[in-house]
Amino acid sequence: MAMHQIEKSYDNLQVVVPPADVAQSAVSVRNVSKGYGNVEALRDLSLEFPRGQLTSLLGPSGCGKTTLLKIIAGLLKADSGDVEVNGVKVAGPGPDRAFVFQDFALLPWANVMRNVAFGLELRGIAKSEREAIAEKYIKNVGLAGFERSYPHELSGGMRQRVGLARALSVDAQVLLLDEPFSAVDEQNRRKFQEDMLELVQKEKKTFIFVTHSIEEAVYVSDQIAVLLPRPSRVSEVIRPTSFRHKDAANIRRDPEYLDIIDRIWASLRNYVE
């Protein structure tokens, strides 16, 4: 077992820092500031998001984590500073990024199939082709058989699976998830988190994940950026090392997992009203 662990983490090391390529950031945020009127949402924030990994933006409400995510998505403009995705400066929404929304943002008048294929529909891909792609991702997120259902016929967890399938089906390298499980009940959320781990392994995409749940962030992330408010800044970046390759059921009992949760709570508790 121990041998196996060492081997695994050694493999992982190679994946994270391939010898030929040093700067392996899929997304770089450099000195970004953003204000809403008098309120300063982000001040001079810089952060690197490693390729193929899941980075969580964790912090109390009002710390600007959703603002940062929307700036990366190109839905909001930064007042100053740059965001680069694969070395290209972000000027607006692009095909290299896909967004998963907190409130699902599904089209209530469209069935699961059309909702999942909607991103491809907007790109002008022919109906049969986009439905074939959508079908595959509907199956991947565990919604096979619900293609013709309407969003109101699905539970909250299933709706967010539709949102996830829609983001996956446009095949963007970077997935942006804005508190995707906050409107999903606890049991579904746990299942979702386990599925996320599998998805990150399988899809080889870069995930940026906004959450206010410390446990959730530590559970799913390769890297956790703790954001603090007033003014918003990255207070620390934590990279869990020992439990990432344990199987899903054992992570929650890992001493490092529990230590990190305690450590983050200790630094956040002063900011919670």
Partner: protein, 253 residues
């Protein structure tokens, strides 16, 4: 609401018509015929073809007016909903139109456009258009911002946002505006025939009343209500055909 059973509909009709029959038999008024008498009169009018001649006349201003109101009403509504400037320009006009006492304006319309079809079409439009415009623009303005943002993040162009997000999202309220507008248009068409020149169904109503043939008068009124109900039902079918997911609640609720 999804499965309104036929039985309940029949029961509801039975209750109303039964009450009518009883009220006519008491009688509540000398001028109030029973349901069965009115239906006999309707049958007689149908058999001698009078009712069809009358509707050929009444439907002209009604259909023209409703088509104009629907097409211009929805386009103007979209426009005022999408642009605040046009909202300021047009909305007051329709709010005034909606509030204006139409009967008092009819003499003005007659002076301007005579007693022909034009005036009657105007009456239908004044009745039908404001609610269509105001409902449409309100619905467009209240499109949930999260699905607009979703479309933008998945690279929708402005045209896509209007056609694939705003219009479908607004369609339930647009259709309810159409329903209200069309029923108001029916009222307008009859009002025009009573107030401008007695033609068509309005003529049957006026004439029957003047010769105290109350069953015929009520038969004419009944027929126009029945026609309006059938038409509104067809509109609902059309809406469900166009937007299948519409009448089933929203994803976020």
């Amino acid at each position: 609401m999804k499965h309104r059973s036929l039985l309940l509909k029949l029961l509801s009709a039975l209750l109303v018509f039964g009450a009518w029959e009883i009220a006519g038999r008491i009688p509540v008024s000398f001028a109030f015929p029973t349901f069965l008498e009115s239906m006999q009169a309707l049958l007689a009018m149908t058999l001698d073809g009078r009712i069809f001649v009358a509707y050929a006349e009444t439907l002209k201003p009604l259909v023209v007016g409703i088509v104009i109101s629907a097409v211009f009403g929805i386009s103007l509504g979209l426009w005022t909903g999408l642009s605040q400037r046009f909202d300021w320009l047009f909305s007051p006009v329709f709010i005034v139109m909606q509030a204006a006492p139409l009967a008092a304006l009819i003499p003005l319309l007659v002076m301007a456009y005579g007693i022909g079809l034009t005036s009657k079409v105007f009456v239908v439009c004044i009745m039908a258009m404001p609610v269509i415009v105001l409902n449409t623009s309100g619905a467009v303005r209240n499109t949930p911002s999260s699905i607009k943002e979703m479309a933008t993040s998945f690279l929708a162009r402005d045209r896509d946002v209007i056609l694939k997000i705003i219009i479908p999202a607004a369609s339930p309220v647009i259709f309810s505006g159409l329903r209200l507008g069309i029923s108001a248009g029916f009222i307008g068409a009859i009002l025009a025939e009573l107030k401008i020149t007695p033609t068509g169904v309005g003529d049957i109503i006026t004439y029957s009343r003047s010769i105290a043939d109350y069953p015929s008068m009520y038969a004419a009124i009944f027929s126009i209500i029945a026609l309006a109900v059938v038409f509104l039902n067809l509109l609902e079918r059309f809406e469900n055909f166009l937007f299948a997911g519409n009448n089933r609640g929203y994803a976020s609720d």
